[in-house]
Symmetry: C2
Subunit: 384 residues, 2 copies
């Protein structure tokens, strides 16, 4: 059900002809109200795609009536013409739906540096508007896929009859401050944009912001949360935030499990940190060690590569007190070898690394993937 | 001729049995004087191998009579026992040579987290001491190889009869603040340790510190510069520094060309930066983009991945003024597409990327490699 699980939303996914494959490549999500409050978080990359620049402006108004999303082209690094194209896309959707363009968000994903085929995209918007359905959530989720092998949706229900639904795309270039990730979350709970913003930032901080598949940050990351108020319920703030977090966490896990070419999902838990921030820094640095990612691909519990990554950070620790467990076996104790590494069972897809800094009580979990020949292949061939 | 090109030095390389392959794995370089002034730079990793901790102490005295280097084991993360082993190695060399252990530097490379087989290493030191020769430079360079496919040496001669020679090993884990790199430089010029230190830091700052094969910093990086004074010449400081820089640059280029699994050597030149420091930051960030490294492996001049990497830095630039050339073709101008990417000839091993920040007059060059299936294979299988 995806984004159409909450009441008040319709969606569609169509093949507009943007992708050369002829597959679905344009999605439309429409908030039928009565409320149109919204919040969004966007890439921290300073090189921002045109649709990100546009949608950040839209979100400043706190209201979103519709979201147009396309795969098949990122519309990033496309200059003034690219921005005009995004604007025209919002205008066409607004016209078809009878809304204001200033309330239409746009999100794009695909290759950087090429203009979108507007002669195909604009008729696609019209086609999607005509195909809108209260059961269109799955089709929308399918239309935003790029190298994703599966479409990603999640739903949670709250006390008193409200629901949070969501869809996501992203299969590589996942990194801090989000990922090449387009996410639309919807709810029929009744909250204003400030409450939505607070819930969304709280939720993404410990979910999407802590998956880091390949250390590369996209120009197009967009996560939107739209509220229709159609359930007529004002939810408990904490319960609502937790529901949004749960949907984000669910979608984030789906992203990691579908990361390009990956054969392992790697959970890096940092414990004993002085602060949560230091734990995140250490976790992210370990997650970005190509040498570690290769070793884990080879099912080698090479803890030396964990320590050598930790050693490049400025987090608080004493090198002689660092300990590392791989899948529960403490192969490194106090900066030196510990239990026998042959005890580590590496056969499963999930690998759990625990790094204890022995410096405090804070911790954090970062998810990443292994580095594989398939990743290299997929990303060598992407644009050619 | 390597480290024995300058007068006053002898060297040897032997098979001590540390490596399971039975290949050469222990090198000894001896400074016969009359001077024994020396300088060293070491890894910035906070997790330092025992030989790094030891040799940093030795270098504080500014004198080095001999260097023992072994491949087949890093002696990193090996606790107090590992440090005792390094100490014992220096003691054994000192005994064999009639020097003080406090003037014997030790360097190790190989797998982290395992103790060295001292029953083989110590007799190996004795064996190497007996094999010392004024023609032993090549053998020493061969004995320090790990996954290197070739041994690396370089020599430069100065005005007035002095020489700088050097050897290096390192084929992966090359990163900032050096690399898994062991380097011994020698000279028969007559300089005190302060002058050597100044020349060495100046030289490494723009050579070894600017090659970044895979973003991973080692626990064992060591670069030593030993002066015998045997040429009886006090060189011009600028000329000497330039000779040391040239030897470091030559060795650094050999390291990049032999990087694990690489099929491309990538020269990233950042121009138009506000400061050299910002240029280095941008260059290093671009050098670490796995997505870019994969694209270049696939001979795809994917400049969007250059811009998305630059956008993650806090360097001074306007995203709409960034320009990027690949092999001389300005595929990106002012933040958008420029010349036709089909004009870029990607057939050669060397790829030249120029990123113009249009923010000032400073610049820097960083070298890296592409990311290949062979890199993944080599680093998945390394310890198993």
């Amino acid at each position: 059900m995806s984004v159409t699980a909450p009441k008040g939303f319709t969606a569609a996914g169509v093949a507009a002809g943007i992708k050369e494959s002829g597959g679905p490549d344009l999605a439309l999500v429409v908030n039928g109200g009565p409320s149109r409050a919204a919040a969004g978080v966007f890439t921290a990359n300073r090189v921002k795609a045109a649709p990100v620049v546009w949608s950040e402006q839209v979100l400043k108004g706190g209201r979103v009536s519709a979201v147009v999303l396309n795969s098949g082209g990122a519309n990033a690094c496309t200059g003034p013409r690219g921005f005009q194209d995004t604007h025209a896309t919002a205008e066409r959707a607004a016209e078809a739906l009878g809304h204001s363009a200033g309330e239409v968000a746009v999100a794009s994903t695909g290759l950087i540096g090429t203009l979108l085929p507007m002669d195909k995209l604009l008729p696609g918007v019209q086609q999607a508007a005509e195909a809108l359905s209260a059961h269109g959530g799955e089709k929308a989720a399918i239309a935003i896929k790029t190298t994703d092998t599966v479409h990603k949706t999640a739903v949670r229900e709250g006390t008193g009859g409200w629901t949070v639904g969501g869809m996501a795309k992203g299969a590589g270039m996942l990194a801090p401050g989000l990922a090449t990730m387009l996410v639309v979350l919807t709810t029929d709970a009744d909250l204003d944009s400030a409450a939505l913003d607070s819930a969304l930032r709280s939720a993404t901080r410990t979910t999407f912001d802590r998956i880091d598949s390949d250390g590369c940050m996209s120009t197009n990351d967009t996560v939107l949360l739209l509220a229709s108020g159609a359930a007529g319920t004002v939810p408990d703030e904490a319960e609502f935030t937790e529901a949004v977090r749960a949907v984000c966490d669910d979608l984030g896990q789906q992203l990691i499990r579908d990361a390009e070419g990956a054969s392992k999902d790697i959970r890096i838990e940092v414990t004993g940190a002085l602060t949560e921030e230091e734990a995140v820094t250490v976790g992210r640095t370990v997650a970005r060690s190509n040498l570690l990612k290769c070793a884990l691909h080879g099912e080698d519990p090479n803890w030396g590569r964990v320590l050598s990554a930790i050693g490049t950070t400025d987090a608080t620790f004493d090198p002689d007190r660092l300990s590392v467990a791989v899948n529960g076996v403490w192969v490194c104790r106090d900066g030196s070898f510990g239990e026998d590494r042959d005890l580590v069972d590496m056969r499963y897809r999930e690998v759990r690394i625990t790094a204890d800094l022995a410096a405090g009580d804070a911790g954090a979990v970062i998810w990443t993937n292994d580095l594989t020949a398939d990743y290299v292949h997929e990303n060598s061939a992407y644009s050619s």
